[in-house]
Amino acid sequence: MRSWISPVQMMAAPIAFITAFFLVPLSVVLLASFQDKSGAFSLGEYVRILADQYHLGVVLTTFRIAILTTLVCLVLGYPLAWYLVRVVRIRAWRRICVILVVVPLFTSNIVRSFGWMVLLGRNGLVNDGLQAAGLIERPIRFLGTEMGILIGMVYVLLPLVVLGVGNAIAKVDTSLERASADLGASSVSTFFHITLPLTLPGVIASSVIVFTLATSAYVTPALLSGGRVTVLSMLIFQQYSATFDFNYGGALSAVLLVVTLVMVSLAGRIGRGTK
């Protein structure tokens, strides 16, 4: 008799895991968001987010930083991926470049963020360098600004774009670009008509990953904000750890989840439209 594992048996463990550690806690959080302090059904917590200028501002700041992070990562990451895949001919050098790109992913997020605190500080390397070069007279304040958070986030998330987009570029058959040139297209025209559309699925996939990680990031904004900028994840953390307001924390979490899902599905729709 042959023994084999049925699909149901195979799926049992992952389904049990997801149910126990994701679906149940998520339900608890969502249920709490629809209750008031006495436990009765209420939409009060959501009204509170919309009514409170400060908290609404935090939501907007979070998504502004996330969108900017995604755009900057794409603008920096696409050419870098292109360079690694198409320009570099020497294998050893390509390997070194890929390692340099990937290494930040192996270090602790806290260590990386502290590193940026040192670099971006009033007397940090960045300000010293800019002053020495005569580009600025007085130190620029990075820490505690959205700019500082943006720099930290781009640094953390750039490798994901380089790897994702690099993979997409590697898949484009170079004979298509040759055919485009053969038909009279300049290299710029070839890029916008052939290469970019064909790599768009990879671009969108990378953007979705970067955007979701940027909206939910906690450590990098918490350390680089210096308490002056607040993003949604920090606000949620405060509700659960400091004020113990589980209902409001749940509502904020739900907002983060829903807005992120909407953005991701929009991106997915754009991705499908290009195929």
């Binding site: 058959d173 298509l176 055919a179 485009s180 040139a181 053969d182 038909l183 009279g184 064909l198």
Partner: protein, 352 residues
């Protein structure tokens, strides 16, 4: 009339390998040229050099008298049909074909009108709204062709475009390509490793080997009078034997002791080429002209190919291939058999 294309002393080296060695070739307006050779002979490299995807190390490429070696591919007055077709997967067939005119600055409506005309020329008019992945290999091939001719280039380069098609379709496309070329009057340069394909389509065949041009000429001429042993072997089947000159127009073959009278002047020594269809398998009692050379032979194998058969016969220690009518060998197989040929059919290649 000046030649449309002049390839002048083109050389290209990859590392320590000379892939093109002093290539010299002139192509007239409206000609159908086949670049023929085994893989690695440099034919595709030469095509890419003409298209502008590779820069030669030395030499000039003149199109209509002006040197295009420094021009990028998009500024050369030619188009290419790629081996894998290289259709844009994210564009519909009509958009693929309209791509050329659009890049030339033609407005969208006009570009699609020209694309539709080009598609009609290759019998693909009704497929405009499909995506390339929804087409068969043969249909993709036609679209690639339409896309390459839509801009009416002076020169069309084709890089083994039929190699992925099955035999039936390939034969059909060979004739269609030839008709299309005649109808358009565009000069075609066609790369292939298939001698049959080259013979079917080309006005002139350029035989290449190891980065050099071995011979340029009409198919029948190359077949009848190959300039080198390589060409003789590559185009059609050939039997080889060594010869040494005896007197003015006679030679001694290493196949037999008989001194044979050849046509034309006889070089000192070299290889004699004898095509399989020039040899006959005969019974020893069969009457033949006195001048013919006849040798006792043992028939080893008969391969029936339907229209004719190939007879493998051993003469001395040598195997000769004979192309004979069906059933010819069977009649004499068990009897005293001979192979015979007219020495006038020998083609002599001088040893260099």
């Amino acid at each position: 009339m000046n030649p449309l294309l002049i390839i002048d002393q083109i050389g290209k080296r990859f590392g320590s390998l000379d892939v093109l060695k002093d290539i010299q070739l002139e192509v007239d307006q409206g000609e159908f040229i086949a670049l023929l050779g085994p893989s690695g002979c440099g034919k595709t490299t030469l095509l890419r050099t003409i298209a502008g995807f590779l820069e030669p190390d030395r030499g000039r490429i003149l199109i209509d008298g002006s040197d295009v070696v420094r021009l990028p591919p998009n500024r050369r007055p030619l188009n290419t049909v790629f081996q894998n077709y290289a259709l844009f997967p994210h564009m519909r067939v009509i958009e693929n074909v309209a791509y050329g005119p659009s890049r030339a600055g033609v407005n969208r409506g006009e570009a699609e009108k020209r694309a539709a005309e080009a598609l009609a020329m290759v019998d693909m008019a009704t497929f405009g709204q499909r995506y390339p992945r929804e087409l068969s290999g043969g249909q993709q091939q036609r679209v690639a062709l339409a896309r390459a001719i839509v801009n009416r280039p002076r020169l069309l380069l084709l890089d083994e475009p039929l190699s992925a098609l099955d035999l039936q379709l390939r034969k059909k496309m060979q004739l269609e390509l030839k008709h299309l070329q005649a109808a358009l009057g565009i000069t075609f340069i066609f790369v292939t490793h298939d001698q049959q394909e080259a013979l079917t389509m080309a006005d002139r065949i350029v035989v290449m080997n190891a980065g050099r041009i071995e011979q340029v000429g009409m198919g029948s001429e190359i077949y009848k009078r190959p300039a080198t042993k390589f060409t003789a072997e590559f185009i059609g089947e050939a039997n080889f034997m060594k010869f040494v000159r005896c007197a003015n127009n006679t030679a001694r073959l290493d196949l037999c002791e008989q001194i044979v009278v050849c046509s034309g002047t006889v070089p000192d020594r070299g290889d004699a080429v004898l095509r399989p269809e020039s040899i006959r398998v005969v019974h020893s009692s069969h009457e033949l002209p006195k001048t013919w050379c006849r040798l006792p032979a043992r028939i080893d194998e008969v391969v029936n190919l339907g229209s004719h058969e190939l007879v493998y016969a051993t003469v001395g220690h040598r195997l000769l291939v004979v192309r004979a009518p069906v059933g010819c060998a069977a009649q004499i197989k068990d009897l005293a058999s001979e192979v015979a040929f007219d020495p006038q059919d020998l083609h002599l290649i001088a040893e260099v």
